[in-house]
Symmetry: C2
Subunit: 111 residues, 2 copies
């Protein structure tokens, strides 16, 4: 998985276990792609301080995943529901297939 | 949701975030249904100590769910995949439906 996608998913799953401050810095640097210097200036801390904080948050998120594997479970799930969606879509003139397609699409939106 | 089912699911999702000791006591009392007195005797601590420990672990698991809502997301997902499974099963003479049924069953086994 691409690194930025992985970091986004990890944050989506476990971000709420970080402190408010950690969340803010992680969002600015990783999700919103501000530079370390920009974030450092806006928070009045050093560039190195921002860097260390992001690294620590990343490590925490990875530790949660290493223990719980919920992101892994979810990614495998999404792939399978994607397969169902594809199969159902090809035959959506059948009312039951259309219903299955509708449910699969709902699931994919939620995931 | 029934209390014991909820406790089992919460433990399935977040149990790895408890300490080894907390896990052991939680499993004995909640999942394996030993009495507080039995667990207390086997660990050489008071009945009240076991009770407090289980309560604290339950609260921790509930706090993780209150922050992350991952159990809630998975339960909703499982219901929807169950609907797909039901629809596909009714028409499993159609090869595409049979394939969808197979994938849905795989998902339900994983969840």
């Amino acid at each position: 998985m691409e690194e930025i996608l992985k970091q986004t998913l990890l944050y989506d799953f476990y971000g709420e276990l970080l402190t408010e401050h950690q969340k803010q810095v992680y969002e600015d640097v990783i999700l919103n792609d501000y530079s370390l210097s920009e974030v450092a200036a806006s928070l009045g801390i050093s560039r190195q301080g921002v860097h260390d904080m992001v690294r620590r948050s990343s490590r925490l998120l990875e530790e949660y995943e290493a223990k719980l594997h919920l992101m892994e479970r979810f990614v495998s799930l999404r792939e399978k529901v994607g397969e169902i969606h594809k199969l159902a879509k090809e035959q959506a003139q059948d009312p039951k297939m259309a219903k299955i397609d509708e449910i699969a699409s709902e699931i994919l939106e939620e995931l």
